[in-house]
Structure formats: structure tokens, C-alpha cells
Amino acid sequence: MKKYSLFALITVLLALSLLQGCGYNTMQANEESVKAAWGDVESSYQRRADLVPNLVETVKAYAKHERETLAAVTEARSKAGSITVTKAMLDDPQAMAKFQQAQGALSSSLSRLMVVVEKYPDLKANQGFQDLAHQLEGTENRINVARSRYNKAVETFNTSIRIFPNNLTNSMLLHLKLKEPFKADEGAATAPKVKFQ
């Protein structure tokens, strides 16, 4: 009896240490950091969405004739707001593509707005507008930082479920799927340059 329970204990310990060696915990920890990084991405995009109405109002006061540009920004904002990617959907390439597309559309409409603003020196000199511009600039930078940190977390996670022997553990026990990173193309090409000097 005593011998048997000792044997069972050793077996359990052995199994635990094997799981450790097979990356069982590592993979799950990596998945959690992907989710955490996504939380930061979401909140920085949300922060930008919160700024947009104020910005549109301020610009409107000085640049009444730019109705089209302003309407495009408002529309892009509401579209971007309607597409959310929850932490459970990060392995869905389509959802991620849609999200990135919608946020990219808002980015490019904002950069068009900032080009338009160049024509209005009064607006550019307005304290309220300058403050908003700083806030938008900071927010865009936060988005960049959050995105690159998310991509780094995804890279670590994806690698961890692909390498041997983690891939065996994963296919037998965890069934985690590869996560989608942000694609560099459109974000990098059309990132609004929110700078006034």
C-alpha cells in the first residue's frame, strides 16, 4: 500500500515535470501575454476614437468648407467603432483583416484632414486645436507602440506553439491556434503624420 502510493506520487511528479518540459505552461503563458498586449492595442485605438469628435468640432469651426473631409472622418470613426475583435478572435485572420482595414481607413481619413488643416493658419494657431493635435499625436504613437508590442507577443507565441516538442503537446492537449499579427503594409504607408510646425 505504502509502496504503491509512493509510486503514484513519483508518477505524478514525473508527469508534471514532463508537461513543464513540453512547454505546456509556457505556451499558455505566452497566449496570455498576447491577450494582454491586445488589450493595450484596443484601448489605444479607443482613445483615438474618443478624440475624433472633439477634433472634428474644432476643425469645423474654422474650416466650414471642408464638409466632405470631415464627414469622411466621422464615418470612418463610426465604422471602426463597429468592428471589434475580442481576445478570443485573435486567431481569426478575417476578423483581424477587417479590424485593421477599418482602423486604417480612419487613419488615412485623419491624415487627409490634417493636410486640409494646413490651409487654415487661424485654426493652426488656435490653442484648442494645438492641444488636440498633441493628443492625437500621442495617441497615434501609443497605437504604434501597442501594435509593435502585440506583434512581438504574437511572434513569441506562434513560435512557442510551433517548435518541438511544444507542437506535440499542443496538438495533443491544448489545441491553441496561431495568432494573427498586424500586417505592416497599409499601416506603415498611410500612418497619419500628425505634425504641425
Binding site: G138, R142, N144, V145
Partner: protein, 296 residues
Amino acid sequence: MGLRRQAAVILAAAAVLCLFLGPAESFGLDVPKLSGRVNDYGNMISPQARATLEAELAALERADSTQVVVLTMPSLEGDVIEEFSIRVGDAWKIGQKGKDNGVIFIVSKADRKLRIEVGRGLQGVLTDLQTGRIIDTVIKPRFKQNRFDDGFLEGTRDIIAASRGEFKPTPKATPYISPNRYFEVFLVAVFLVLPFLRRINRFLPIPAGAAGGPLLHVLSTGGAASGSTLGILAVVGGVVGLFVAGIGSSKKHGHHGSGGGFLDSFGGSSWSSGGGSDFGGGGGGSFDGGGSSGDW
């Protein structure tokens, strides 16, 4: 035969692959060494201004635990200041861990660019708007006139003014027993106090040890200890108590009088000092890209 060999080959291949899976990183300008509160690699600050800056920043950290550091670079060598500055933040970890109350004031001389990078904990008071205004209205005009010392001094003063009062330093916990007397107190407890208690009741050393272990720790750290540490110490203390309770029941008279030397050593000299103005490095703070940039 073949199967075993195949397995061996696969394993070897996997092992070799692992060697090549190191992270492919290192791009852009290298982050310089954190050498103090003012890191003037761009040679923009006079020695007097530097001393003033260092004193003011040290005073801020003493009072609030908030860390502000200045970095000047000769050039960004083509790097983007926002990307460089977040790498500096990640490497230097300015601000206290958990509070994220750090600020990095970065200037590149050749590019005529500057940035104030703000840790998350300070973004409530030092908003992007606030840092933007400090750059626009205080720093830029002075830099344009080549009054760099004034720009650094007054810009930093505004950063300090905005962040002051937002954080309290975690009490550095003046210990009642300095750590280097820890062992002596432990000896006194084990060889004098516990045997003495044992004479009152044979089993008294056990609970006394269990209580004494954590108590000793609290006294020597000034109260900063986690629950699990205290728990472990309680168990250790209990075991020591058990040991004392178990040994030589015939030994009636202990070393009552021999403890004078130990007790004498609890001098006032063992109080830990408050620390000077020397910089202890980044406190583990993190950055999320908040803050503002500008040029002149």
C-alpha cells in the same frame, strides 16, 4: 534499427534548429548607457546647469519617488525620435515598478528634435497636451535662441511642477533592526529567549518561534514583507522552536548572563540612512508611447 536512428536524427535536427531560433532584433540607434539623471551625450548642457538639474531631479525623486531623466544625443542617425525614445524607456526602466512614474526628456542636437516620454502612471497629470505645451511654449522658444541651459532647466521645472504630488514614495521603511544585526538578534532569540520560555512551559518555544520568525523580519525590514514570506518564516520559526523544545530537558540553567555582548550591539548606529542624492538607476517603470514630440 532504422526507427531509432531516425528519431535520433530528428532530435538532433530539432536541437540544431533551436540554436538558430534566437530573436532577430537590434535595429536602429543603440540605446546609450544610463549614467545618471542627466545623460548629456550631445554636449548641450553646461556643468552648472547640469548640477542644478541633477539636484532638482534628485529632490523630486526623494520626495515623490518620481524619476525624471534627461538624455541628449549628438544625432539620431536617421532613427525616428519616437521609436528611439520608447527603446530608451524599455532599456532604462525609468520610474518605479508598478507606479510607472518616469519621464524621459530626450533631445537630439543634430536633428533639432526633442521628445518628452511619459510613463503611464504620470499621464493623468502630465498629459500629452501638457507636455506638448511645455515643448511649444517653454522649451522650443529657448532652444531656438540657442539658450539650451534655460530650455532644459525651465522645461524640467515645468515637468517637475506638473508631476509633483502625484506620487508618494513607498516608505523606505526605517528598520528597527538593521539587516546586519539580523543574525545577532536571531542568535539571542534562539539561545536566550527560547530556552528561557522553555523553562516556563516546555512547549512554549514552538508558538514563540512561529511568532518570532515573522516578527524579526518585520522589525528588520520596517514592515515591508509579503504574506507568503511571513508564512514561511512562521514555519521556520516554529521548527526552530520545536528544536529548542526538544533539546536537552536536563539543561536547567541556560546562558542567562552571557548575552550582554549581543544586547550591547543594538546600537543607534545601526539605523539606515536616508540616502544621498546619488542615482540608483531606473526603478522598473514602463512606457507606452505617451508624451509629446517637437522640433526647433
